[in-house]
């Protein structure tokens, strides 16, 4: 599956815990279904009683409930006592007017608040074994003795506390799923936060336990949810704001954990863990109110950070941003509501609709992250298109990356030495000293840093995406680097090929010069000497000596002629002296068939003219040797930025650029000049065309 190993272990533990909590809460509620009273949900004050009103009320209720007849003690004992005893833990001996029994009932935790607040009259909402809620109304004497009990049907409110536990469990599973997905997509920091959220959510069901310690833990641990919510902010928002949120959240956790310790452990008859406040609910309420207010402040801060980030967020992160802000805001409202509730003195940390809202909001945070992960999965086609786009290079790379990251502010920096990062202006970029809200992701290729992306720090919550884009960018930079390298090498090769051609041309000229100034001149000189010898010796052409000398002269002239043939072919002297048209005309003069010429007056650069000349010379020589043509034509023109030379004959074709042929050499020469040579040779003749750029 690709989880990080440590995370896989933690995730397995988390799943086991969530499973255990789920199974346990289900079995617990099933066990309690057999009990007559499941939950005590609400303590509600009635108007301060007067004897007559109590009597009236009681009489009316008794009459309505018992057929207009007062209850006897026996009736009370038989019909009221058993369910009430069950509801309060079954430790009271009796519920009737006897002082001892009444005190035993009042001694139970559930009745403490009620007794203290309303010495004379109280109403308790409970749920009967058939699942219907009912009202127990106790009439107490001035001394706190139970004077009577009423039981009344009550259609509402529903058992919210059980719902809160169910919500917390659902939230726990949602967190587990989101955490697994986050780790899977490489968002490790969030993954741990989500796992912690799952544990905190699981702890909410502990309050169902009858063990005092477990129950207390169930009260204390859920306040950690607020810390998890801040954790899940990651590095969104300004760093200072996050630091303050941590401080406030920490305070909320401490205060929120202290509160139940002063009171709630007494639920099933034990004294509170911090016994000093056992008799004073004011401290308990004050702590609860303060904790709720701190939670409210924290969550308002979280909402604000999320809202503040919205402007900077890319399209794909904006809806989750809104959702997170809304959830945090909802949580904050619930917390402030709780704070007011507790301050007013009739709230209950464990119950109430506000707690439900808090769990919904907490669950929404997990849902938001899950949503964001799904959204990031939808991004993969964009990543694919990025890789395609990333044929782009240089100036086109930044827009492509900005599109893929949905962050127009992204800046591409490059590194040539694997250490120093340079921006597009060549200025050095220090990864340690980026402006607030900016973050650097290095681009690596073959283990070397080739550059980096400086992007919005908010993108770090989706490292997988940033890393994928960085990898693709690394590919592009690498491709670009290879391109530049190949181009540079190509340039080198082209340059060296041109140099070889220039060198070979220079060698030709040197050979021709050497022949002209050396061998040819000396042979002519020798001829002159022979002539002089003949004259001076007085030998006539008829004499044997004269005939020999004349034969030597003739032989010499033939040698000179041969050498001339060699040197003429090796240097287009006329090209240098009179230009391309004259030189090509001289070539045409020597061709074995009529050659029509069409040569533009527009002069070509020397190097291009030389190449064109050799193209014509080689083409005509080739035609003379192989084509058996009856005519040919040569056209040379300058078209746009290039010279075009075309040589056509009406011969038998068959010209190919086979290895080692003259045409192959010609192709090399044309290519060295950056041009192209094409040959079209068939039964109708041969057309050879060269296009050479005129720089």
């Amino acid at each position: 599956m690709g989880f990080h190993p440590r995370y896989a272990v933690a995730l397995a533990l988390g799943v086991a815990l969530a499973l255990a909590a789920t199974i346990w809460s289900i079995s617990e509620s099933r066990d309690r279904a057999g009990l007559p009273v499941i939950e005590l949900l609400r303590v509600e004050a009635l108007p301060a009683p007067s004897s007559s009103r109590i009597d009236d009320h009681l009489n009316r209720l008794f009459a309505a409930w018992n057929g207009e007849r007062p209850w006897t003690d026996e009736e009370l004992e038989a019909r009221i006592e058993p369910p009430l005893l069950e509801a309060i833990g079954g430790t009271a001996a009796a519920v009737n007017t006897s002082d001892a029994a009444a005190r035993a009932v009042i001694g139970q935790r559930r009745f403490v608040d009620m007794a203290e607040q309303l010495p004379n009259f109280a109403r308790v909402i409970a749920v009967a074994d058939n699942g219907d809620p009912f009202v127990l109304t106790m009439v107490l004497s001035e001394a706190g003795q139970v004077q009577g009990l009423l039981v009344d049907d009550l259609p509402s409110p529903p058992p919210l506390r059980g719902w809160a536990a169910a919500l917390a469990l659902a939230t726990a599973w949602l967190f587990l799923f989101s955490g697994a997905a986050a780790d899977r997509y490489g968002r490790e920091q969030q993954a741990w936060g989500l796992l912690a959220g799952s544990l905190v959510s699981c702890s909410a069901v502990l309050v169902l336990s009858r063990s005092e310690l477990v129950y207390t833990a169930g009260r204390v641990l859920p306040v950690l949810a607020v810390a998890v919510a801040v954790w899940l902010l990651g590095d969104a928002g300004p760093r200072r704001a996050r630091r303050w949120l941590w401080v406030v959240a920490g305070a909320a956790v401490v205060v929120g954990a202290l509160a139940p310790l002063t009171r709630d452990a007494a639920r099933i008859g034990h004294p509170p863990l911090i016994g000093a406040f056992a008799d004073d609910p004011t401290v308990y309420r004050a702590l609860l109110s303060l904790a709720a207010a701190l939670v409210g402040v924290t969550m308002a801060g979280v909402a604000a950070v999320n809202l503040g980030d919205l402007g900077r967020l890319s399209r794909w992160r904006r809806p989750p941003g809104w959702a997170a802000a809304t959830a945090a805001g909802m949580w904050a409202v619930a917390a402030f509501g709780s704070a007011a509730d507790y301050a007013a003195g009739d709230g209950d940390w464990a119950g109430g609709s506000l707690l439900g809202i808090t769990w919904v909001a907490f669950g929404a945070v997990a849902a938001v992250i899950a949503l964001e992960l799904v959204a990031s999965r939808w991004d993969s086609p964009e990543l694919a298109s990025l890789v395609i786009d990333l044929d782009a290079e240089g100036s086109e790379l930044q827009p492509a990356i900005a599109r893929a990251l949905e962050d127009a502010s992204v800046q591409v920096v490059v590194s040539d030495d694997g250490e120093t990062l340079l921006d597009e202006t060549g200025a050095e970029v220090d990864g340690e000293a980026l402006p607030a809200g900016r973050s650097l992701t290095l681009i690596r290729s073959n283990g070397t840093t080739v550059g980096g992306l400086v992007h919005d720090a908010a993108l770090n919550t989706n490292r997988a995406r940033v890393e994928a884009v960085a990898a693709a960018a690394g590919l592009a930079l690498e491709v670009g680097r290879l391109n530049r390298q190949v181009l540079a090498q190509l340039e080198d090769v082209t340059e060296s090929r041109a140099r070889i051609v220039r060198a070979s041309d220079a060698a030709r000229r040197r050979i021709e010069r050497d022949l002209h100034d050396g061998a040819q001149q000396r042979l002519v000189g020798l001829g002159l000497t022979i002539q002089r010898a003949r004259r001076l010796s007085g030998a006539t052409i008829d004499s044997e000596r004269g005939a020999l000398l004349e034969a030597a002269s003739r032989e010499l002239r033939e040698i000179i002629e041969d050498i001339r043939a060699v040197s003429r072919g090796s240097n287009p002297a006329l090209l240098v002296e009179r230009g391309l048209a004259a030189a090509v005309d001289a070539l045409a003069e020597r061709a074995p068939v009529p050659v029509r010429l069409a040569v533009d007056d527009d002069p070509l650069p020397d190097a291009v003219a030389t190449t064109v000349y050799f193209v014509v010379a080689e083409a005509l020589a080739n035609m003379a040797k192989h084509a058996e043509a009856s005519s040919a034509s040569v056209s040379i023109c300058r078209h746009g930025g290039e010279a075009r030379v075309q040589i056509t004959d009406d011969g038998q074709g068959g010209a190919t650029m086979t290895h080692g042929s003259g045409l192959q050499g010609l192709d090399d020469r044309v290519a060295a000049a950056g041009g192209t040579l094409t040959i079209d040779s068939g039964p109708g003749g041969t057309t050879l065309e060269a296009c050479i750029p005129c720089a």
């Binding site: 002209h516 040819q520 002519v524 001829g527 002159l528 004259r535 001076l536 020597r590 009529p594």
Partner: protein
């Protein structure tokens, strides 16, 4: 006959000077390049100037340019231009500068002293000498069709000799025919080629050479 020699090769300069001296020709000066030749010619008025086309400093056509300059400055001095390579274009350029008293010969012709003496004699007398190689290339250049096709084999031979700068008498000698026959041939050829029938020999040479050069392939 007084002659100035210009050639960058000392071997040829000295060899040619000696050879001409043997023939009783007075080589009054020699130069290794074209510098100062014009002044020397203007000052000393030789009968003829023998000059190589290719010389320092660029080894291109300095000799030819110098010859054309001297032609304009001192038309009375005949000029024989020698070249290691024959280019019909240079023959044409030379003739365009005035055909009387000019010659254009392949350099190795000088190893046949008779040809050299003959050429010098002809140009000093105001004639024109064009190397047979030039004429051969012009006449035999492959052409699709044209007025040359109308010439007989014999007329072509006559045309070549005309282009080389020979007089009617010399043509008759060369072809071993009587002069009248040669004249008839010349007249026919000029008519067939639409050239002026009775131009002097030097004009005739340039007319024929230019006509041949400009005849399309």
């Amino acid at each position: 006959m007084r002659v100035i020699l210009v050639d960058d090769s000392a071997l040829i300069r000295e060899g040619l000077a000696s050879l001409l001296a043997d023939e009783g020709i007075d080589v009054i000066a020699t130069f290794a390049d074209a510098d100062g030749v014009g002044e020397a010619v203007a000052e000393r008025r030789p009968d003829a100037l023998v000059i190589d086309v290719r010389m320092p400093p660029t080894f291109q056509t300095e000799g030819l340019e110098a010859a054309l300059d001297i032609r304009r400055a001192t038309p009375s001095t005949a000029i024989l231009v020698l070249s290691q390579h024959i280019e019909t274009r240079y023959a044409v350029e030379l003739l365009e500068g005035g055909a009387a008293g000019v010659g254009y010969l392949l350099k190795d012709r000088v190893t046949d002293i008779d040809t050299l003496i003959d050429a010098l004699g002809r140009i000093v007398e105001g004639g024109t000498v064009i190397d047979p190689e030039v004429v051969t290339r012009l006449v035999q250049r492959p052409r699709s069709s044209g007025p040359l096709d109308r010439l007989s084999e014999r007329e072509r031979e006559v045309l070549s000799l005309m282009a080389e700068g020979h007089t009617n008498a010399r043509i008759a000698d060369e072809l071993v025919v009587n002069q009248r026959t040669a004249e008839t041939h010349v007249s026919n050829i000029l008519t067939k080629l639409d050239l002026p029938p009775d131009a002097p020999v030097d004009r005739r040479v340039s007319a024929v050479v230019l006509w041949l050069k400009n005849q399309p392939a």
